[in-house]
Subunit: 387 residues, 2 copies
């Protein structure tokens, strides 16, 4: 039988897929996946968008359903460029979710063995694509204001680094937001060492407290790539994201996209445009922010019960539990009907991971979250490592 | 600035993209792209599908717009398995058009330098993805009943070949349909030499004359991958295709798809299912077949004018013009407002290409097709190589 490629063999079996799959059975409380809460998906706006499209005259419909441009549906691109105030000289392309944007970047710019830097911990989907591209992945530790700048400079100085992948706003999985100073310093380092920054920004529009800070990319526009996602502000099922960069960076990405799937489906790009332009869209964003803020506050109260076990946490929620084995804990908890993600999966190299559980509070309702924390408490109590 | 990857540098600049882009200006008659005729896109069925989805209750909508399974929307998969009578033991995955299916296959199974075989000429999009995967591409010549079997066996015997990519029904670009004997012989050779067959079947459902023959894969199920496309039977803008294979082959493809873009957008999968299940869908397929048959007949009459110039043709249409330089002819014709695709782009190695032009008759109306042929005739007459 045919053998799988070396690249595919190198990426680790994804434990998170197993968890997500298990988490679907009705008797599991899932704090595992990053699924938005079903009632916060703007079904009214989406339904209205689909109905409007269905009512278009035949000649417009036959255009929406014809082959389209690889870069995306141009009316949607125009709407987004205005909405995000994309500066002159920066061009954008629509992708199948920001995950595809990441994959295209890896394929366009990484050769086997190239050195790239990620934060530790880091978004699992990014580790997967960089693994597939056979990059030599180095990681920089985080503190409460972003990546450790000395470590980052050492990594950049030690050998040629081509790309630095980061999530500066509401980092997944830790929830850290970079300080203004860190943003400026990282941009300066990228310029100095000729490193291209990949700024992944799926959560920026959902900030529910603290101050909005400029994109890191705004301090090093010419050497950065911004990834945006419409999974959280609109809906994940439409699989739409956007990648923005200078033309010299975007044009190879378009070339890869052309080979990968020609272009992204047009009718849902038209539907997203309807949703974004709807008068009620700003209210929808406020609703999401309010709901998450409220849920987070109540979840925090439940979480405070875990302090006796060394439980420290942060928005997103990244629950540090220094005395446990995170992978075993996640497996044990799953047996008890509680799905969480162990910290190990967010490090490209398990050895430097510090024990934590990622708890997503956006999907389950408050009652269920509370039950889950109670279950985690019972589990930790039984472990007795705190005696 | 950041440099593009070796793989991307290796794929040739796509002249066809230039043509397709030029072909959009209103004063060009385009016989270049494989675009379906706008009036044959089932806008009524698609509009009805979108309206039905827009009327679903909020809880169903929030499921359709939530993250989904990587393999695809299961009700659509079930419909397709029934429709295509997918045999037991063969599993399927929905992709962003069959182009993505090809790309996933290349990424999952090809290491740099692996030997694979394609027909010469071959589908351009396939040559691109195999080029990106840095495969060592060998090609087998075609005769009127499919690939030359002796050549194919020699290629298989000479060195380890992992994959053989073929379009056995209405080959793109030549239009050749493999005979039953060739189908069986190729399957036997694949078994004997342990080669996995990629059977690309986007046009099978649109046959407008001749006899439907079994899939080549039906003679070597366990070592084949079938690609289907819904761009021609439904619409290209929805970007939906399907890849089917035994579990050991499909499961690596699902793993790559997960890293590439998590899954294909759900709402358009639901819309496609509506269209396929609609009572009027079989009539839509008959309409496409009738329209193409009619247009092809009339186009053939125009084409017969080109016989004095050595013009031989075949369905699709692949117009052989042995005495011209195909690339120069295509460029000259574009200047004169006629877009066609030169044969060179369909060969991974230009040197073994024989001069021809691919003329697509599905997009333009009869009058325009006729004008285009008259223009080609004027051009050929002026070349004087036939004197």
């Amino acid at each position: 039988m045919i053998e799988v490629s070396t690249a595919l063999n190198l990426i680790r079996p994804s434990y998170i897929r197993e968890i997500l799959s298990a988490a679907k059975s009705p008797n599991i409380i899932s704090l595992a996946g990053g699924l938005p809460s079903p009632e916060l998906i703007p079904t009214t706006l989406l339904s209205k968008a689909l109905r409007s499209i269905s009512e278009e005259p035949a000649h417009s419909l036959s255009e929406l359903f014809q082959y389209g441009e690889t870069a995306g549906y141009s009316p949607l691109l125009a709407t987004l460029e205005e909405m995000y105030k994309i500066p002159q000289g920066i061009h954008s392309m629509i992708t199948n979710g920001s995950q595809q944007g990441l994959d295209l970047i890896a394929r366009a710019f990484i050769n086997k063995g190239d050195h790239i830097v990620v934060e530790a911990p880091s978004y699992l989907g990014a580790l997967q694509v960089f693994g597939l591209a056979q990059a030599n992945i180095k990681s920089v530790e985080q503190n409460e204001s972003g990546p450790d700048l000395d470590q980052l400079e050492n990594l950049f100085a030690l050998q040629k680094v081509t790309l630095f992948y980061a999530v500066p706003d509401f980092h997944n999985p830790t929830g850290v937001c970079w300080s203004l100073n860190t943003r400026k310093q990282v941009a300066t380092l990228c310029r100095q060492y000729n490193v291209t920054l990949i700024e992944d920004a799926p959560y920026r529009d959902l900030r529910f407290d603290g101050q909005a800070l400029p994109l890191v990319s705004s301090f090093c526009e010419e050497r950065s790539i911004i990834l945006r996602s419409f999974s959280k502000v609109a809906a994940p099922g439409i699989r739409l994201g956007m990648v923005s960069a200078s033309e010299s960076i975007l044009s190879p990405l378009i070339k890869i996209k052309q080979a990968a799937d020609l272009h992204t489906a047009i009718p849902l790009q038209a539907a997203l445009r309807f949703v974004l332009k709807d008068d009620r869209f700003p209210q929808h964003i406020r609703n999401i922010r309010d709901a998450y803020q409220h849920r987070y506050q109540q979840f925090s109260e439940s979480l405070s019960r875990l302090k006796p076990y060394g439980g420290e946490y942060n928005k997103f929620v990244w629950l540090k539990l220094p005395k446990i084995n995170a992978l075993n804990a996640a497996k044990d908890l799953l047996q008890q009907g509680i799905a969480v993600v162990p910290s190990t999966v967010f490090y490209h190299n398990n050895s430097n991971s510090s024990a934590a559980l990622r708890l997503n509070f956006t999907h389950e309702k408050i009652n269920e979250l509370d039950k889950a924390i109670a279950g985690i408490e019972v589990y930790l109590k039984a472990k007795k490592v705190w005696m």
